[in-house]
Amino acid sequence: MGPTMIGQGTEASLLVDIVFWVLAVSAIVSAFAVVQIRDLFRAALFLIMTLLSIAGMFILLRAEFLAAVQVLIYVGAISVLIIFAILMTGDVEEGSPSHSMRIPVAILSTLFGALAIFVSVSTDWNLLEPAIAAGQVSADAVEGVYSNTIPVIAKLLIRDFVLVFEIASVLLLAAVIGALALIREG
C-alpha cells in the first residue's frame, strides 16, 4: 500500500472529469454571455451562473469552505446588489453597447489570454502529488490538512495573516461609510 494521495479514489475517476468539463464549459459560456448579451438583467443572471460554476470548481479543488463563501457572498449578496443597481438605474432595454475601441481591446485580451495559457502550460510546476509519491513531502501532513480544512484556515487567518485580517476589517468599514456618503441625498 503506497502513500495515500489526497482525495484518493475520486481524483482519477471519469465522473470527476465530466463534472470538471461541464463546470468549465458553463463558466466560460456564461462569462461570454455576460459581456455579449444586450439585456443587462440577463447578463447579471449569467454572471450568477459563472459564479456558481466556480463554486463547483472550488469543491473539486477541495476548498469546500470557499465554495460556501462564494455562494453566500457572490451569489447571495453581490449579485443581488448588481441586480438592484440595474433596476435602480433603468435603461434595461438600452443594453450594454461597446465603444469604438472594441476591436483593439478584443485583440489585446486574446493576446493576454494566450500568453497566460502559454505560461501556465510551459511552467515546470513543483506539483504536490509527484512529490508525495517520491517521498519528498509527508503524505500524512497533507492528508491532515485536507481532511479538515476549516481549523487550518482559521489558524492561518487569525495567527499568520492577522494584520491583513485587521486591515480588511478597516477596509470594509471605510467602504460602508463611503457608500453611505455617496448614496446620501444632497
Binding site: A27, T50, L61, H99, L127, G144
Partner: protein, 117 residues
C-alpha cells in the same frame, strides 16, 4: 483534470472579464466584468494552493508538522481576502454608478465627463 486545466479556465475567464471591462460603455457591465476577473484570480489562487508544493513543506520533508503543512491553504486565505475586497469594491462601485446616474441620467462611462475642463 490537473493544474493546467484550472489555470487555462481561469485565464480564459480573466481575458473575457478584461475585454468586458475595457470595451463596454455601461458602468454596471464594467463592474460585472471586474467581478469575472476577481473570480478568475480566485480560481488560480485555489488551484495553485491545491496542486503546488509550498516552500515550507518542501523544506520540512518527511517530518513535516502542522505548522509547515498549514501553508498548503495559503491560496484559500488569498481567495478569502480577494472576496472581501471584491465585496467592498462592488458596494462602492455601485454607489458611484447610482450617484452618477442621479446627476446625469446615464450609466454610460463615456457620458460621465463632468470633471473634464
Amino acid at each position: 483534470m490537473g493544474l493546467e486545466n484550472f489555470l487555462i479556465v481561469s485565464a480564459v475567464l480573466f481575458s473575457i472579464g478584461f475585454y468586458g471591462a475595457l470595451s463596454k460603455r455601461n458602468a454596471i457591465t464594467v463592474l460585472m466584468s471586474i467581478e469575472l476577473m476577481f473570480n478568475a484570480v480566485n480560481l488560480t489562487a485555489v488551484a495553485l494552493s491545491r496542486y503546488v508544493v509550498p516552500e515550507s513543506l518542501a523544506t520540512a520533508g518527511q517530518n513535516a508538522g502542522q505548522d509547515a503543512a498549514q501553508f498548503l491553504l495559503t491560496g484559500h486565505i488569498f481567495a478569502i481576502f480577494i472576496i472581501t475586497v471584491a465585496a467592498a469594491e462592488i458596494a462602492l462601485g455601485l454607489a458611484i454608478v447610482i450617484a452618477i446616474y442621479r446627476n446625469s441620467e446615464s450609466v454610460f462611462v463615456t457620458d460621465a465627463t463632468q470633471m473634464r475642463n
